[in-house]
């Protein structure tokens, strides 16, 4: 087994970008401040010096324009990686992503594919208020033709990008903004690419299934630790892929634990958690021993003040309380 090293999520993203640029000449990175500034979350620091302005392309502030351009470049032989600063800003590019990238393959009768990777930061937790903190992944996960992924670990931040680039479909990558400083252990060498089709069990358990993704994974794991002290063994599933959902992995777990709590930083109404709950109710109703519970963001634009931001978003304490309720403790 090769030696392990400890790196941050941010470094993992940067390594993945660098590897992609080295392995495939068709790959280029494009977005606002990805070059001289080094990326708004510093994920592309140093890449401009190594790869030059053609491949590390700073863009003007025009999300629809440069995301649309990445789609055109993908349809014409390139493998663009486009960075949108946050999911909130990606609303300005929603037309291009939904009306073109997601639709073109089917609408053209299979003649054109759009192998583009669109990365964006998402989520709350850094007191950035209502225009930089939302979790709108669900809107993308709603759209056929898109693959939506949410790397929640350093290994996935490092390994999902290459696999996404091999995909002929538009892949939207959601990097939760609170993860960039997190650290994890990775092998020092070898192929680090990972699957982008399956959910994985991050912690096995027999009593309840906690289903989550992205920035909420560590909160769910913290809740599972707290619950273990009470003798409750939680199985924690990291969705990893938000579209298409890996429902079989969820069903397999829920059929063993008979209880499910879904943790989703999106607003509860019309959320991904609602879709997962519906699928579990449709396909595992008679396996359930308790109603499905959800821990989601409150129905409010994410506030600036720290205590309000915490109150508005899922926290370990709320997850613990939801688990106790489904266990009737």
């Amino acid at each position: 087994m090769s030696a392990m090293r400890r790196i941050s999520y941010r470094e993992a993203v940067r390594e993945a970008l660098r590897e992609a640029l080295l392995r495939d000449e068709r790959v280029f990175l494009m977005g606002e401040d990805v070059g001289r500034y080094g990326g708004s979350y510093a994920c592309s620091m140093g890449l401009l010096a190594e790869f030059g302005e053609q491949r590390i392309r700073d863009t003007p502030l025009c999300e629809s324009g440069f995301v649309g351009a990445s789609i055109g470049a993908a349809m014409n032989g390139m493998r663009p990686i486009v960075e949108v600063m946050t999911v909130n800003f990606s609303m300005l590019a929603l037309d291009q992503i939904v009306n073109t990238a997601a639709a073109v393959r089917h609408m053209s009768g299979g003649q054109f594919s759009v192998p583009v990777v669109i990365r964006m930061a998402t989520g709350a937790g850094r007191q950035l208020a209502a225009q930089h903190s939302h979790s709108l992944e669900c809107w993308y996960a709603h759209v056929p033709g898109i693959r939506a992924v949410a790397p929640a670990t350093v290994a996935d931040a490092r390994g999902m990008l290459w696999t996404a680039l091999l995909d002929q479909n538009p892949v939207v990558v959601f990097e939760h903004a609170t993860l960039y400083n997190d650290e994890g252990d990775l092998p020092a060498e070898g192929d680090l690419a990972v699957d982008i089709e399956h959910a994985v069990v991050r912690r096995p358990g027999r009593d309840v299934t906690l289903i989550t993704y992205g920035g909420s994974l560590k909160k769910a794991l913290a809740a599972a630790d707290a619950l273990a002290a009470e003798g409750v063994e939680s199985e924690v599933i990291d969705l990893r892929v938000l579209r298409p959902l890996d429902t079989p992995t969820l069903l397999e777990s829920v059929r063993r634990t008979h209880r499910a709590v879904i943790i989703d930083e999106g607003w509860r109404s019309g959320s991904l958690s609602g879709e997962i709950a519906a699928q579990l109710a449709e396909q595992a109703f008679y396996d359930l021993d308790a109603p499905i519970a959800r821990v989601c963001s409150a129905e409010v634009p994410i506030p600036y003040a720290r205590h309000l931001e915490i109150a508005a978003t899922p926290q370990a304490e709320g997850i613990v309380a939801a688990v106790r309720s489904v266990l009737r403790r």
Binding site: C62, S64, G65, A69, G72, Q96, N99, G110, S113, D195
Partner: protein
């Protein structure tokens, strides 16, 4: 005399004049047939006809090579035919048949042709412009000498994507010919009710782009301007912009009662239509004769009849294939264990 795309000078040989005339008449008759088929409910959905604007698609396409790319709008039957998409496949697409150029998934507004590098009718006004920027960026990065030609209407000039794309194309000196088909109305809103500056050309100039105004009712003028633009773009001079003044003879779509313009205005424009003018001109200078035009009409009628027959006889996509082509299959070697 030979005549190939990539040359700037237009030498209007008899053969070339006949070809321009043939393409314009083909488009006009195709559109008339579509309107007829719409009333018979063979064609459904939205149907936007190009009648009156033929000189633009036909003239511009003369300047493009087979390797160049075309991006266009939902009023794109003329562009598709002038670009060489097979007429049978285009008509079958109108019907929604599986033999259509988009397998019946797109219909009138979404004609695609990979073999012709025809990147589709985009029905989001302004939505095709960023795409054209990306196609051209890829060609530039890959060192290919190709041009991307992007058609859109005057309505697009009010969209943010228009301005974003003008800026990106000029900033990065991309090989694009932008062709604004200014037919004076964005659906039912007259240009001067939608734009603070009605010279759309000036918007392009404000981004440092060379732009010119072209008589979009004169196929020869369009061809000359397009050749000039394409040659400059191919020479690495960055993007060029054509504002073609033209006019749509028919309603915006089949649902439009045309309350926003007078019949007299339409009739006045029809007197100076592209086919009328080119006919008068070629007959006057003896480039073509009445027999030639009659022969073109006969030829075109037969092509369209065959296209309708093809579409009528073609099968529908099986419903079992409903989800086909939503996702592309994984490239070999793509799947890796978690």
């Amino acid at each position: 005399m030979s005549h190939s795309a990539g040359e700037t000078k237009v030498r209007l040989t008899r053969e070339h004049a006949r070809e321009l005339m043939r393409q314009m008449i083909l488009i006009r008759r195709f559109e008339e047939k579509c309107a007829e088929l719409y009333t018979q409910e063979k064609i459904r959905g939205f149907l936007h006809l190009y009648s009156g604007e033929e000189a633009n698609a036909v003239g511009v396409m003369q300047a493009l090579t087979a390797d160049d790319a075309v991006v266009t709008t939902y009023r794109e039957h003329g562009h598709a035919l002038a670009r060489g998409l097979p007429i049978n496949a285009v008509m079958a697409e109108m019907y929604g048949k599986v033999t259509g150029c988009s397998r019946g998934h797109g219909g009138s507004m979404h004609l695609f042709g990979a073999a012709q590098r025809f990147y589709g009718g985009n029905a989001i006004v302004g939505g095709g412009l960023p795409l054209a920027v990306g196609l051209a960026l890829a060609d530039k990065l890959l060192g290919r000498p190709h041009v991307t030609c992007c058609f859109f209407g005057d309505g697009a000039a009010a969209e943010g994507e228009f301005h974003e794309s003008m800026n990106l194309a000029a900033l990065w000196r991309l090989p694009i010919v932008f062709v604004c088909e200014n037919n004076l109305y964005g659906m039912g809103t007259a240009l001067d009710r939608a734009e603070s500056v009605t010279d759309i050309r000036r918007h392009a100039e404000s981004y440092g782009m060379h732009a010119e105004t072209v008589d979009g009712m004169n196929v020869v003028d369009v061809e000359v301007a397009a050749r000039r633009a394409a040659e400059a773009v191919r020479a690495g001079e960055g993007p060029r912009f054509m504002e073609n003044h033209t006019y749509r003879f028919r309603a915006h779509s089949m649902f439009d009662p045309e309350l926003y313009r007078s019949k007299a205005e339409v009739e006045e424009w029809k007197k100076h239509g592209p086919i009328v003018r080119f006919t008068e001109w070629t007959l006057d200078n003896n480039t073509l004769h009445r027999d030639d035009i009659a022969a073109i009409e006969a030829e075109v009628t037969q092509l369209i009849d065959e296209a309708v027959a093809f579409a009528e006889q073609s099968p529908w996509e099986p419903v079992t294939d409903l989800l086909r082509d939503v996702y592309a299959p994984r490239e070999a070697g793509g799947a890796v264990a978690p």
